[in-house]
């Protein structure tokens, strides 16, 4: 007797209310993951989740670096000398961006982007990824800025006192050290981003939660699809946490302190 037959048999029992605990469990599990090859849509959901995370991360890191560069360069202008006006304007733009993004809920941002700004778009998944990226950029910017500022000012002074210019000092001395310092927070931001991809299903972004909810609508059983999705997120996060730990250990070996 194969699984499909067992399923049909036990489901009939369940409908009549005669199934035991194990039989009920099996039926619910089977219809959630196996029937009509539903496991494939979870797999597809994982793929979309990873793509959305990667796109959002790329946007977030680029935006974050730009914003952090503008804000750090602005703050590190020499006191007593006239300020660079272009840098001043850029700095205000960056500040407004960070304030708005950090001051409003992610869910509202996604709804606004999906239903107002890009209301005529059909590719809600990418609209969602773009929104996540813009959101992430604000946090990444603050992480990078914190890392740059946490470094002992003596490092910058030593570089400059040797006659290196600002760019070279940042490139060879400040940024490599700041990168190591911010890696844990950056990894944390990445994990938050990975989990927040689930929010884009609210505007019809087709990632894992979207597929899970479709299955709920078919089977009228919410518990198995949602717990299944949760387990998959957990596994993904654990894999990335492990990878991050490996990377950090490798970087620490580099300076042998």
């Amino acid at each position: 007797m194969d699984l499909a037959q067992t399923y049909e048999l036990w489901r009939a029992l369940m409908v009549e209310g005669d199934a035991n605990w194990w039989q009920t469990f099996f039926v619910r599990f089977y219809q959630t993951f196996i029937e009509a090859n539903r496991w494939q849509s979870y797999l597809e959901g994982v793929g979309v989740t990873l793509i959305v995370t990667a796109v959002a991360l790329a946007i977030g890191v680029v935006l974050g670096i730009l914003v952090a560069m503008v804000r750090t360069a602005h703050d590190q202008q020499r006191p007593g000398r006239p300020k660079n006006p272009v840098l001043g304007i850029l700095n205000i733009i960056c500040k407004v961006y960070v304030t708005i993004i950090r001051g409003t809920p992610m869910m509202v941002q996604i709804l606004i982007m999906g239903l107002v700004v890009f209301a005529s778009s059909r590719n809600f998944t990418m609209v969602g990824a773009l929104t996540l990226g813009i959101n992430s950029g604000a946090y990444v910017a603050e992480i990078i800025r914190g890392g740059l500022m946490s470094l002992d000012s003596g490092q910058m002074e030593a570089g400059r006192s040797l006659g290196l210019n600002y760019i070279d000092t940042m490139r060879f001395i400040v940024i490599p050290q700041a990168f190591k310092a911010i890696l844990p927070s950056l990894g944390n931001e990445f994990i938050v981003l990975l989990k927040d991809t689930s929010l884009i299903s609210i505007i019809g972004g087709q990632e894992m939660v979207y597929f899970a909810r479709n299955i709920v609508n078919r089977t009228f059983d919410a518990m198995f699809p949602l717990i299944g999705a949760a387990v998959i997120y957990l596994i993904l996060v654990m894999i990335f946490t492990w990878l991050q730990g490996k990377l950090e250990r490798r970087l620490r070996q580099g300076d042998r302190r």
Binding site: Q155, S161, I173, R257
Partner: protein, 240 residues
């Protein structure tokens, strides 16, 4: 060589340097002493513009370096600086610490810089540390490397900002020894320090600062044997 005119520096409302005028000639070893908060470190840091003066001008070999249009990176290449806390770059080997600036500023090619680094390291007895990282060295070793790093730029003047104040007592000697050799070779030096023995032995002139002014200056023997100002006497009685 360095000409300071009416130099003032305030941090907010706090006046740290109060209208200082001073001239430092080539070959001089000027030792700056004084109580903490007297402005001696700020004075030194103004000389290579790590602090921007609020008022006054500083001229270095005919260039007015306080002019906003001055090539400050170019000026700093000719002025070595040694810090109290070494400020070696922990993410690089000692060799790269020393060669980074000469190579990046176009002073030397990498091989030439490596040779320079080896020669300088040999001089301070640390040639076997070229591939070590700063974190593996003692304080005295780090400070000797910091001196070598500044020397690799072939500076015309060396500025020392309390180079032995962060060291364990038994390591002070090895750093002062390197500085003495440098002085014997004729390097122009400005040294902020609490090492009175060094001031007496190596200095050609001692400046005593308090309250943002140079209160008194003299050649070392006369300065220590026969201080003029009451404030100087009081300070020396506490530190000697």
């Amino acid at each position: 060589m360095i000409d300071v005119k009416h130099l003032s520096k305030s941090f907010g409302d706090h006046l740290v340097l109060d209208d200082i005028s001073e001239h430092i000639s080539e070959g001089e070893k000027v030792v700056v002493i004084g109580p903490s908060g007297s402005g001696k470190s700020t004075f030194l840091r103004c000389l290579n513009l790590l602090e921007l003066p609020t008022k006054g001008t500083i001229t270095f070999n005919g260039t007015v370096i306080t002019d906003p249009k001055a090539d400050i990176d170019g000026v700093r290449r000719q002025m070595g600086m040694v810090f109290q806390h070494f400020n070696l770059f922990p993410n690089m080997t000692i060799r790269r610490n020393i060669t980074l600036a000469p190579v990046r500023t176009g002073l030397m090619k990498q091989e030439e810089a490596n040779d320079t680094a080896s020669a300088l390291l040999r001089r301070v007895g640390l040639e076997e540390k070229a591939d070590a990282y700063p974190g593996q060295l003692s304080g005295g070793q780090k400070q000797r490397i910091a001196i070598v790093r500044a020397l690799a730029m072939k500076p015309k003047v060396m500025l020392f900002d309390e180079p032995t104040s962060a060291l364990d007592p038994e390591m002070v000697g090895e750093v002062l020894e390197v500085m003495k050799e440098l002085a014997d070779e004729g390097m122009t030096m400005v040294v902020v320090t609490h090492e009175m023995g060094f001031a007496r032995e190596v200095g050609t002139r001692v400046l005593f600062m308090d309250g943002g002014k140079i209160l008194e200056q003299n050649e070392p023997h006369a300065f220590f044997a026969n201080p003029q100002q009451a404030r100087t006497k009081e300070f020396l009685s506490k530190v000697l």
